[in-house]
Amino acid sequence: MTTDRAILGKDVVLSDGVLLSELIDQARHEVSMRVLSDPEIYRLEMQRLFARTWIMVGHETEIPNPGDFVTRYIGEDGVIVVRTKDGGIEILLNACSHRGMQLCRTEVGTTAQFKCPYHGWVFNREGQFLGAPFEKEMYVDGLDRPSLGLRKARVETLGGVIFGNFDQEAPPLREFFGDFTWYLECILCRTDDGLEVLGAPQRAMVNANWKGPGEQGSVDGYHTLGLHRSMFEIGMFGSLENSETAGMISVDVSANGGGLRCIDLSVLFQTKQGTGATTTEERLAQMPPFGLTPDMVPQLYNNLTEGQVEVISSYPPAVGQAFCTFEFLLIPAALPDGSVGPFLTLHTWVPRGPEWFEMYTWVLVEKGAPPELKELGRMAALQNLGSSGQIEQDDGEAWPSQTKAAKGYIAQQGTYKYPAQRGHTPPDGWPGPGEVRYGFTSDDGQWQWWQRYFRFMLGEE
């Protein structure tokens, strides 16, 4: 059984007769607030989005050896992410094919096989049914063994990040991310040894619909000065005296429903006070990419194209999200003693009902970086992002507040507004793909996230 193809090309009539397609206003760049946490729409999202798109479930370094597994979620479906005997990765539905008990109730472990606690059916790490206790006595007519394997998701990785997709006919991962892949590589694929996850992810339940962080992630540059103003007030985000240092000027990229912001280092290099570095090599020598030491810089050329290295040297891709729930933040953050910790934080938003999601937070560093740099990154990440992070604490206040407001009957007649559309205005000679804007941040990326959201929800993709 594969994903239901009958949904393709079909609008949805909601229970009160409203068409789903009426909830987005293409001309005005507005989305109905009803979309946020309507239970009917939430159920459709499980079918049309989470069962058909590539969802991030972890990082390869969490399960380095054969038999290592972690349990995660794709939509509301629990899955086991396991390293197989030959070093591959499988994503298995965490439900016994017999009576549906979870095969794994732990989050992490190592095992040769999966044995259901209920009746004892056994499966291997590839999800094949191996046997049942007293099989001959119990099943005198025999079992249709090949049909009893665990349901599997397709698996692909990018920079070690593991993605799963239950749609066997979906396009491959890199095709699904499209032009956005080029930028993900700038974040995830910089060094020879690749990334290394620092321990287990943080998990926290947030009383908000997953689309709060979802639409914010692709990517809301505008909220930085509002919601995160406290970070400027205490001097952690630079001064408020001009908009460049207040983080509002950037190169914003959007592609395939993903959006990201690239930090503008031109001020550093090109102004009168700048260092005058004009070539990619000079810039990288003066300022190695976040999380790399100077001696790691040549590795960039082993793993990336010249265009990607050029972008990293002058406008490093930093914060954003690939459609629909894979967020990344590759930033340096100052610690109170003046040291700077560079780190990569990854998030995914796991839906837990119309008004709840679970926030996962991983911290990663370059495996080849020296221990002191890794430790700085870990400390800086925990100060700024995730459960106690001083930046994301305030995001955790905004998302529940949106969901609460969207419950109102009158509120649902209102809209979320994305009129700041700037289109394609890249810096001269920009080598990367996608729609690129240089200047004050805009609504383009988030609007395009909604565009792709509706394409999936209306069965157009």
Binding site: L198, S230, I234, P336, Q393
Partner: protein
């Protein structure tokens, strides 16, 4: 893993048990009640004065595991990993008028029980464990988030009383039952 961390892995060597009612036990109990009061009232500057300059304040991530598989606490990843400097910075942020996560503030009630105290190998140092139940009520939500933990603390004696040198917050939840830890535990 290349990262040096503490968690509960490098456990103290505990000395003599200090029984309920003994002076040192009273000192620790009194300290914990004072702390709970400062945090409930939002007197964060007063709270900071209870901390030693070298305080290490951590809350390891917990993962569900089988009994025979060992500690549920991740040795590397934390919810909190703080020093006095970073805790001071958190308080400084809370005092801006833009720390929306805690403004308006949560109403917290902190129930501290099961206080057990031991001497350690170092003179003047005390190790204490206590059960903590925090009820976090926010905005007009009638339901409070329940955050429970075992806290393992190390205190050192200063001329003006005990100060906290190490706190390990061993949360009972693998998934936090509250949207963030914008409060101190």
């Amino acid at each position: 893993m290349t990262i040096a961390t503490d968690a509960r892995l490098d456990r103290l060597v505990l000395g003599t048990r200090v029984r309920v009612g003994q002076p040192a036990h009273n000192d620790v109990t009194d300290w914990l009640y004072e702390e709970a009061n400062f945090l409930e009232q939002g007197d964060f500057e007063e709270w900071l004065l209870l901390l030693d300059d070298d305080v290490r304040y951590t809350a390891p991530v917990r993962r569900t595991r089988l009994r025979h598989e060992g500690s549920e606490f991740d040795p590397v990843m934390k919810h909190y990993e703080d020093t006095l400097d970073t805790l001071k910075q958190r308080v400084r942020r809370l005092r801006t008028r833009y720390a929306f996560a805690e403004d308006p503030p949560s109403r917290t009630r902190r129930l501290v029980t099961n206080i057990r105290v031991h001497e350690t190998a170092a003179p003047g140092e005390l190790a204490a464990s206590s059960s903590l139940l925090v009820l976090r009520n926010r905005l007009d939500d009638p339901t409070s988030h329940l955050i429970s933990a075992l806290r393992e603390d190390v205190f050192v004696r200063h001329p003006d009383g005990l100060k906290l040198r190490r706190r390990t917050i061993l949360l009972d939840s693998a998934t936090l039952p509250t949207h963030n830890l914008a409060i101190f535990l």
